[in-house]
């Protein structure tokens, strides 16, 4: 059911006011709401199961009718409930730090947990982000035994001074102290369970009978409550961390985190990406380089620009963290605007690059060994992508040298690949003309529209919307992403009416995608078929694959005529078994079908229909009429068939 952005925002604003007035009451309200949702799942099952069981145990003549009517909804609700409660979370990922490796860091953590009365951190992980985080993970799933994780981004660790880093850690430990992670995890799990339950029932209309009203009331309530609660947690954690580390250090740490990521981070990655054109493999000392880069102060102008940008952002309804300006305001520092640009408060100048960073102080001699491990991890993580990008760039360069690009011989796909490579190496500005060039060659190239639209919106250019709207019409796989991008842009631009229209469009896309999926998932006598457009090489591969399955007698390949997204072809591979497929519970047919699906691989979108002479019926006659539909015959293309032909030849 559509729940507009405006309604959502209004609800969040109202709830935020409530939460600020009575935080404890608000938390209780959320807990009750989640409990209702969780209880609704077994209640939905029992409400149908009980009459069914009663009917089973009564001897009335109409009992059979009740059983028949209630069986399917009960089964669907039961399956939906089982599907919903399935736990699907993984522990966070990172390189684990041990107490022996970083005794000073662990001593600091011990001190912070003691002072904030927080539970112990069971795991400290390092990752490659410019941020820090904390989370809990239930080791025994629903039975609990929560493990607390602290995740530290190494770039952040190597940028901040020990005092500022302590403030960041205090913020994370405050989350653990307030058991925010536990509550968030519980809430997150409940939300996930509820979403899965409703998604499952959505597909089985009958099973939703009697619950529609509850769905309409409950579903739109969950997301805003969750959002407001998380924001409340962030504000609480900021306050506690400031009380412990000092308001000034907390404010400086926040400003540094927002600003240095933009100044040092972006410049550093720009330089690294440039290497893709010259180096066939990624640098092996990335973190060592990053450490050196973190010690370099950013140019004054760049820093002022980053400050202005960071302070210009407003608290929105997408990210639970308030915007930097509001966070500083809550800590008692008011940013001010001069000449149209936001400035940090006069009493809060941005600190210089520290002589000793937190990583130097807290990791000590272990830092080099840790950097080496991180260097290896980064190299291995980026190897595949880097090598492939390097080859694309080299190939594009060769084409340019050979003069084929100037002659207009490059296809849209080739130009797109080149543009992507250029974007990584030289930056987005140089890539935009290439994406336009690709669209000049083929105006229906969805990927180029997508990339160009994205880049233009980043530059606050409304033309990007038109490109992304083309994507919505051209590519099912990218349609929703494109719609989301337009929506986020419009929200940023404070154009609520257009954003709402985009939201409605998103709903429409979901409906269309479901329809397209349904259309492609079954065929009947009314379905139209056309000649497939697979190349000879593809057919040869398909024949080889089918020949390895001795039970396949012959196979037909046709293109299904579809109404939804007709530019994305869907093919039907009808495979005839040499033996009848009828068996108890259809096991034989299922096994035959699985064997074909496992064996036949193609990049094309196709469905397999396994048939025998008895079940083929009218389909066979229609496929025979389609030119080139018979792609495989065992006596001709099978192993024995090929041998026989070879002997004759």
């Amino acid at each position: 059911m559509p729940h507009s952005r405006q309604q959502y925002e209004q609800r969040v604003t109202r709830l935020e006011a409530d939460a600020r007035r009575h935080p404890s009451l608000f938390k209780l309200r959320v807990a009750v709401l989640v409990a209702i949702g969780l209880l609704a799942i077994p209640a939905a099952v029992l409400s149908m199961l009980v009459p069914l069981l009663l009917a089973l145990f009564t001897a009335f003549a109409w009992a059979g009718g009740i059983i028949a009517a209630a069986y399917r909804p009960v089964r669907d609700r039961l399956l939906a409930a089982l599907y919903a409660v399935r736990l699907n979370i993984r522990p966070p990922h990172g390189i684990e730090l041990s107490r022996a490796q970083a005794p000073r860091l662990f001593a600091l953590l011990d001190d912070l947990t003691r002072r904030l009365k927080a539970p112990r951190c069971h795991h400290v992980l390092l990752n490659e982000k410019f941020s820090a985080g904390s989370t809990v993970f239930p080791r025994f799933g629903p039975l609990g035994w929560q493990q607390h994780y602290l995740i530290i981004g190494l770039p952040l660790f190597m940028t901040l001074s020990p005092e500022h880093f302590t403030a960041v850690l205090a913020h994370e430990i405050a989350h653990l102290s307030g058991r925010h992670g536990h509550f968030s995890l519980w809430l997150g799990r409940a939300r996930e369970a509820w979403t899965r339950f409703t998604d499952y029932l959505e597909e089985n209309e009958g099973a939703r009978a009697g619950m529609n009203r509850f769905f309409r009331w409950y579903t739109p309530l969950l997301a805003p409550h969750n959002f407001v609660l998380r924001r409340l947690h962030e504000i609480e954690a900021d306050r506690q961390a400031a009380d412990l580390a000092g308001h000034r250090f907390m404010a400086e740490a926040l400003a540094l985190t927002y600003i240095r990521e933009n100044t040092q981070g972006e410049a550093f990655w720009r330089e690294i990406n440039k290497l893709k054109s010259t180096q066939p493999s990624p640098p092996r000392d990335l973190y060592t380089r990053l450490r050196a880069a973190c010690r370099q102060p950013a140019p004054e102008e760049e820093e002022q620009e980053a400050i202005g940008k960071a302070l210009d952002n407003e608290t929105d309804f997408l990210v639970p963290h308030p915007a930097l300006r509001d966070r500083l305001q809550l800590l008692g520092f008011t940013a001010w605007k001069f000449d149209g640009t936001w400035r940090l408060p006069a009493d809060l100048p941005l600190p210089d690059v520290p002589a000793q960073t937190a990583a130097d102080t807290l990791l000590g001699e272990s830092l080099n060994a840790i950097l080496e491990t991180c260097n290896q991890a980064w190299w291995l993580n980026h190897l595949d992508h880097w090598v492939s990008q390097h080859c694309t760039i080299v190939k594009a360069q060769q084409r340019l040298d050979a003069g084929s690009a100037e002659d207009g011989e490059e296809s849209a796909a080739q130009l797109y690949e080149r543009a992507k490579a250029v974007m990584e190496v030289s930056g987005e500005d140089d890539a935009i003309p290439l994406f336009r060039q690709a669209l000049a060659v083929n105006a229906r190239h969805a990927n180029s529209h997508f990339m160009l639209g994205q880049l233009l919106l980043k530059r606050k250019d409304d033309d990007g919307i038109a490109h992304l709207e083309r994507v919505i019409n051209l590519d099912t796989k990218l349609a929703r992403k494109a719609c989301r991008m337009i929506y986020d842009y419009l929200v940023q631009q404070r154009r609520p009416a257009e954003a709402d229209a985009c939201d409605v469009k998103d709903e429409e896309i979901i409906r269309e995608m479901r329809q397209a999926q349904r259309e492609r998932s079954w065929i009947n006598t009314g379905t139209g078929f056309r000649t497939h457009s697979w190349s000879d090489q593809e057919i040869a591969v398909l024949r080889r694959q089918l020949a390895s399955l001795p039970q396949v007698e012959r196979a037909y390949l046709v293109r299904q005529e579809v109404v939804c997204y007709p530019e994305q072809p869907h093919y039907i591979l009808g495979v005839f078994s040499g033996t009848p497929l009828k068996s108890l519970f259809g096991r034989k047919a299922r096994r035959f079908h699985d064997a074909i699906c496992e064996r036949v691989q193609s990049r094309r979108d196709f469905s397999v229909y396994d048939l025998d002479e008895e079940s083929a019926g009218a389909l066979l006659a229609r496929w025979t009429d389609v030119r080139g539909a018979l792609v495989y015959r065992r006596d001709r293309d099978g192993i024995e068939g090929r041998q026989r032909h070879a002997v004759r030849a």
């Binding site: 989350h175 291995l380 694959q545």
Partner: protein, 210 residues
């Protein structure tokens, strides 16, 4: 990345390796999947026959997957085959990137439909992973001066972190003097850097607080 392989070797132990019976039975040993059980003549049976010996005496080297069953890149339960290229010997420990480049070159040659019969035979294998052969050397016209071997392997999901293929570069157990079969080193014996590289694409879990 010599030290990553060295770390793998240290964690897996020196040859001949001994494993606890429980670990060998429950973790190292992988039963052949249903589709393989129905094909008695499939070359991958060699890999199952030599499994214990590979674990006991196999040499660890880098391998690069050049073709793998599509389903291996998604969650699932069944094991499927993949074609891997590798260069035996410690001299190549630090040159995993060359294998990646060679993998890309193989696909380029395949797209160009080579005239050379040896190249054609090799690149045709890339169309269909089931029809790949075991222990076939990469044609020197493609691999260059340094010889490179290829082989069909069974990718056991339980030996991968999270049971899904994420990267092309894997530590491989080989025993060229005895068998053309190879096996991916089970992830329990991977060092943290490699595990991190394989899991870095993962999204944050529920309840993650920045």
């Amino acid at each position: 990345m010599q030290s990553v392989l060295d770390e793998c070797r240290r964690l897996f132990g020196p040859t001949p390796r001994c494993f606890e019976r429980w670990a060998a039975r429950r973790y190292l040993h992988a039963a052949p999947p249903g589709w393989l059980r129905r094909q008695r003549q499939h070359p991958l049976w060699e890999s199952h026959r030599q499994e214990q010996q590979l674990f006991r005496e196999g040499e660890i080297t880098w391998g690069c997957l050049v073709q793998a069953h599509q389903r291996l890149w998604n969650n699932g339960k069944t094991d499927y085959p993949a074609l891997v290229i590798y260069r035996p010997g410690p001299a190549f420990d630090d040159r995993a990137d060359e294998l990646n480049l060679l993998g890309i070159r193989l696909h380029e040659v395949k797209r160009a439909r080579p005239d050379d019969p040896e190249e054609r035979r090799f690149t045709e294998m890339l169309d269909d992973v089931y029809s790949c052969e075991m222990g076939l050397p990469v044609p020197p016209s493609i691999s260059g001066d340094t010889p490179c071997a290829s082989t069909l392997i069974m990718v056991h999901r339980k030996h991968l972190p999270d049971g899904v293929l994420v990267k092309q570069t894997v530590p491989l157990l080989i025993l060229p003097a005895v068998t053309p079969a190879a096996i991916i080193l089970p992830s329990r014996y991977w060092p943290p850097a490699l595990l991190y590289a394989w899991g870095a694409c993962e999204t944050a879990p529920t309840g993650y607080l920045d």
